[in-house]
């Protein structure tokens, strides 16, 4: 599994200029490395707000990444709809999917993986999946999907 140093280095290499985030127990492990990186995080209070900040950054010519857990992504639906479908902005989201690995193993009871998939479909968001715990996990390739033109979501298994 890539460690936080490798992840943050890959995010910087992917060209992101700002990271707008609310950490969860998985994303939060990146914090010590982020603090000393060019991607020092912009801390917000709610996930829809993270999208609002990203809208302003995009209007100003920056290349932000919003990193949030899927539970917050569920809350942020209207802001995502507005950014992607009203404003046609290339919003980039890294969404931590709580319980995804357990669901894949058939041992989970968390409904987050079920609804995360259905909501990216409902909001018509081009997306890819990445499980950093897989033996052949290719972090650079996963982040490359985020840098494709237009809005993109990377569903990050937790």
């Amino acid at each position: 599994m890539p460690n936080p140093n490798e992840i943050v280095s890959a995010l910087v290499a992917a060209g992101f200029t700002h990271l707008v985030w609310i950490p969860d127990s998985h994303l939060g492990t990146w914090e010590p490395v982020l603090a000393g990186s060019p991607l020092a995080p912009i801390r917000v209070c709610r996930e829809g707000e993270a999208v609002g900040v990203a809208i302003g950054l995009l209007l100003g010519g920056a290349k932000p990444l919003v990193a949030i857990q899927c539970t917050g992504f569920f809350e942020a639906g209207d802001a995502v709809r507005n950014a992607v479908h009203d404003m046609k902005l290339p919003l980039k989201l890294l969404v931590g999917v709580r319980g995804a690995r357990a669901a894949k193993a058939g041992t989970g009871r968390d409904n987050c993986p079920h609804f995360a998939q259905r909501l990216v479909d409902a909001w018509e968001l081009p997306h890819a999946h990445f499980d950093p715990a897989e033996a052949n996990a290719n972090l650079s390739a996963a982040l490359a999907t985020l840098t494709q033109a237009g809005p993109r979501v990377l569903l990050w298994s937790e």
Binding site: V44, G52, G60, G61, P64
Partner: protein, 188 residues
Amino acid sequence: MTHRDALEVLAARRGEHVVITTMGSVALWPQLSDSPLDFHYLPSSMGQGVPLGLGLCLARPGRGVVVLCGDGGLLMNLGCLVTAAQFTVPLYVLLIDNGLYEVTGGQAVAGAGRTDFAALARGAGFARVYEARDRAAWEAVAETALAGTGPVFVWLKVDGERGKPTPSAPRPMGEQIERLRAALQPKA
């Protein structure tokens, strides 16, 4: 003070600031200004005007950004004040407080007339907070409030008005975005 009064005072002093309008201000501001540095955030996600303004400040360091937000919108996203107060940026939040959801017909917002927005802003960490309940009071502080470092919070108490038409932006969103981005480019 009417909503229009509040915006007229701003129009005379906005200088080179970006002005982001939301909700009812979208209908009034084009009558006072047609600058490429105007951005009418409509269609919008309600409550995201201040975060949008903060993002612009962070993308364009040094550029002043005024956000005209309503009390209904701000109440949907009060945490944005805490977020904005973390940064030293020239962000000027002008709260147009009419106590109403004006665009939907004039229903009262929660806590209408009882909420101390200045105290909320101070509590969130805003060091510069101004209040004005009439045009003269706003004119007296506007020059100072709209200059210098921030973030700045200005609580403008305006008359509630009902029966106003649903606002629409004077340009399509795509055109607005191109216009604003061009205006933000450094001059040769």
